[in-house]
């Protein structure tokens, strides 16, 4: 591969070298040489340069087309989701505030004013609770273990811990849901009573699910702190833990925050594993306890979208929920971007 490309990349050098070598000789011989030189140059170009240019153009067109497809796809997705999502407000005439702040969800019924019950707040609250709680549970373990494997036992880290976490990252979420059903739900039931389903169970399952991702990204962040910072701190007589707390972690903070936000994005968008253990029913009310059945944006969509006819209010309202999900994940990505930019300014 590389030797072949070397050969071709050398060919443009060769014709010009020949051309230059010919020129002084031609000048010395008198007046005739100009057409000769021109034709030989053109000939060489036809042989070597033109096919190259064609390859260049072809490559540009091909990769450019890919970019266009991806960009079109992204725009189309956003337009479609939002287009469907706003129908609740345009076609069905539900006030936006009733949707965003309403606390009752039962789109087949209407309230006294004739406005359907499409309050999304219970689901939004549910989604945020499981997301924040799961990050809260996962973060100490992710941070602690990444500090340990980078700063204390780097060999164990690269040989055993990293590969294991990478395997965990690849486990499908339905498996975590099953484990949650099998272990977490009965455990919660035996400790606090009730059914065992609820926000707490969902948060624990999600915490386990995002733990490998957050850990793996935190390890990257901590490992990328320059060794010279550590030496500087240790050289001043500071202990390893002082160095970690006062130099390593602050320097790795943008990376760690990115890890957290990516974990949140994953938790926020997860449907299957959550739905299996949160115990959500069709109707939805504001969550009042961590140990009672609740709903999230994703669980309501997955459970109901198959049962609703296109064009009904219920169907439109589900799209509106999807739109909220989309906006939230865009927001998360924006946050990651902002953190990344701030971090790079600080480290430069």
């Amino acid at each position: 591969m590389s030797s072949a490309s070397n050969v071709t990349s050398e060919s443009p050098g060769t014709p010009t070298a020949v051309g230059q070598a010919v020129e002084p000789a031609a000048g010395a011989s008198g007046s005739g040489p100009k057409p000769g030189r021109g034709s030989s140059d053109a000939g060489l170009r036809a042989q070597g340069v033109a096919p190259k240019r064609r390859v260049e153009v072809r490559g540009k067109v091909l990769t450019g087309a890919c970019v266009a497809v991806v960009a079109a796809l992204v725009v189309a997705l956003i337009v479609m989701i939002c287009g469907q999502g706003v129908q609740t407000f345009t076609k069905d005439g539900v006030p936006f505030s009733k949707f965003l702040f309403g606390t009752a969800w039962n789109p087949t019924r209407t309230d006294a004013d004739g406005v359907p019950y499409v309050g999304a707040l219970p689901m939004i609250a549910g989604s945020f609770s499981v997301t924040l709680l799961s990050c809260l549970f996962a973060l100490p373990f992710a941070l602690g273990s990444s500090i340990f494997v980078v700063e204390v036992a780097p060999r164990f880290g690269t040989r055993i811990f990293r590969p294991v976490t990478e395997v965990l990252v690849g486990i499908p979420s339905v498996v975590f849901g099953m484990i949650g059903l099998y272990v977490i739900v009965p455990l919660i039931r035996s400790i606090v009573g009730g059914t065992g389903y609820g926000i707490m169970s969902a948060s624990i399952v999600l915490a386990v699910m995002i733990l490998p991702t957050v850990t793996s990204l935190s390890i990257d962040a901590i490992a990328s702190v320059p060794e010279s910072y550590r030496e500087g701190s240790l050289g001043l007589g500071c202990t390893r833990w002082q160095t970690i707390v006062h130099v390593v972690l602050p320097s790795a903070l943008p990376g760690i925050l990115t890890a957290i936000v990516l974990g949140m994005t994953r938790a926020f968008g997860e449907a299957l594993a959550v739905q299996m253990v949160i115990g959500s029913g069709g109707a939805s009310v504001m969550p009042t306890s961590l140990f009672k059945a609740a709903t999230t944006l994703t669980s309501v969509i997955t459970m109901n979208i198959g049962n609703q006819a296109q064009g009904t209010l219920y169907y439109d309202a589900l799209w509106s929920l999807a739109m909220v999900l989309l906006v939230m994940s865009l927001l998360f990505i924006l946050i990651v971007r902002l953190i990344g930019r701030k971090g790079s300014v600080k480290n430069d």
Binding site: E231, S233, S251, K346
Partner: protein, 275 residues
């Protein structure tokens, strides 16, 4: 881990007291005796014995890979971090063995180190200098301000940065960063300063500023500097030690070593017959 925490609680108050209460006590004499050092099976130093007198600049010279950095890092026990690195013989600081008689962390407040590449922390200029004192005690805000000003003045950086103390240390030029790092080291009031090629990443003007600083610091510190630059050794140092292939070949007052080297290897090196 437990051991470390113990060390932390033991050494911190002592170091804090030193750093904030006692004024500079002057340099300490560093003496190495019969040091053999191994990285695993690879021997990097052979029977090195060297006196580095208090309040003088000692330059370590020699071709690349001859063990200068390795020797320097023995003095503040930075080699302890490297798995498989061990040495025999002794290194003493005013008669105390650095490996057995002084706590590792206390040692590093007494023996400061300046690195080849300036390595300020990604903190403000003020916080960079205040870093050491803050870790070793709970200095009052006023004491801290005074320490920072004193150290920045000592390295000639105060006038350049006094209005920008809140700005990041990483925003300074290379030469300013290196002087900031020296100020940071001075803030814990060391007796000995180890400098590993401190000017090799700097431009000529910054280099001469740092060289002047070295001579000045030697009035109340023992300065030990590794350098590849012969002129620098003659300009700044009182004593020079020539290392070759892990052995200390020759040591003498700098003018003497450069004008009348006793060993053939030294002469060959100084005249550029190998590098």
């Amino acid at each position: 881990m437990d051991e470390m925490d113990d060390n932390l609680t033991e050494s911190a108050p002592a170091a804090g007291a030193r750093a904030t209460v006692t004024p500079a006590a002057g340099g300490a004499e560093v003496v190495a005796r019969d040091v053999d050092l191994f990285y695993g099976d690879h021997q990097a130093l052979f029977d090195v014995s060297l006196d580095m007198p208090a309040n003088k600049v000692t330059a370590l010279i020699g071709p690349s890979g001859c063990g200068k950095s390795t020797f320097l890092r023995c003095i503040n026990r930075m080699n302890d971090r490297i798995a498989g690195c061990r040495h025999t013989g002794s290194i003493t600081l005013d008669g105390q063995d650095v490996d057995t008689q002084i706590d590792e962390y206390l040692l590093r407040t007494r023996v400061g180190m300046v690195f080849q590449r300036p390595n300020p922390f990604p903190l403000s200029i003020f916080d960079n200098v205040a870093y050491g004192p803050r870790r070793h005690g709970k200095p009052s805000r006023e004491a801290l301000r005074q320490t920072v000003q004193r150290c920045l003045e000592r390295v000639g950086l105060w006038d350049e940065v006094k209005d920008d103390l809140k700005k990041s240390g990483l925003g300074l030029s290379g030469g300013q960063q290196q002087r900031l790092c020296i100020a940071r080291t001075l803030a814990v009031d060391p007796q000995v300063l180890l400098m590993d090629e401190p000017t090799s990443a700097l431009d000529p003007i910054s280099t001469s500023l740092v060289e002047d600083l070295m001579s000045d610091l030697a009035s109340d510190h023992t300065v030990i500097v590794v350098t590849h630059n012969m002129q620098q050794a003659t300009r700044v140092s009182d004593y020079t030690a020539f290392f070759y292939m892990g052995k200390l070949v020759e040591t003498a007052p700098t003018t003497e070593l450069f004008s009348r080297p006793k060993e053939k290897q030294t002469e060959d090196y100084l005249t550029g017959r190998f590098s």
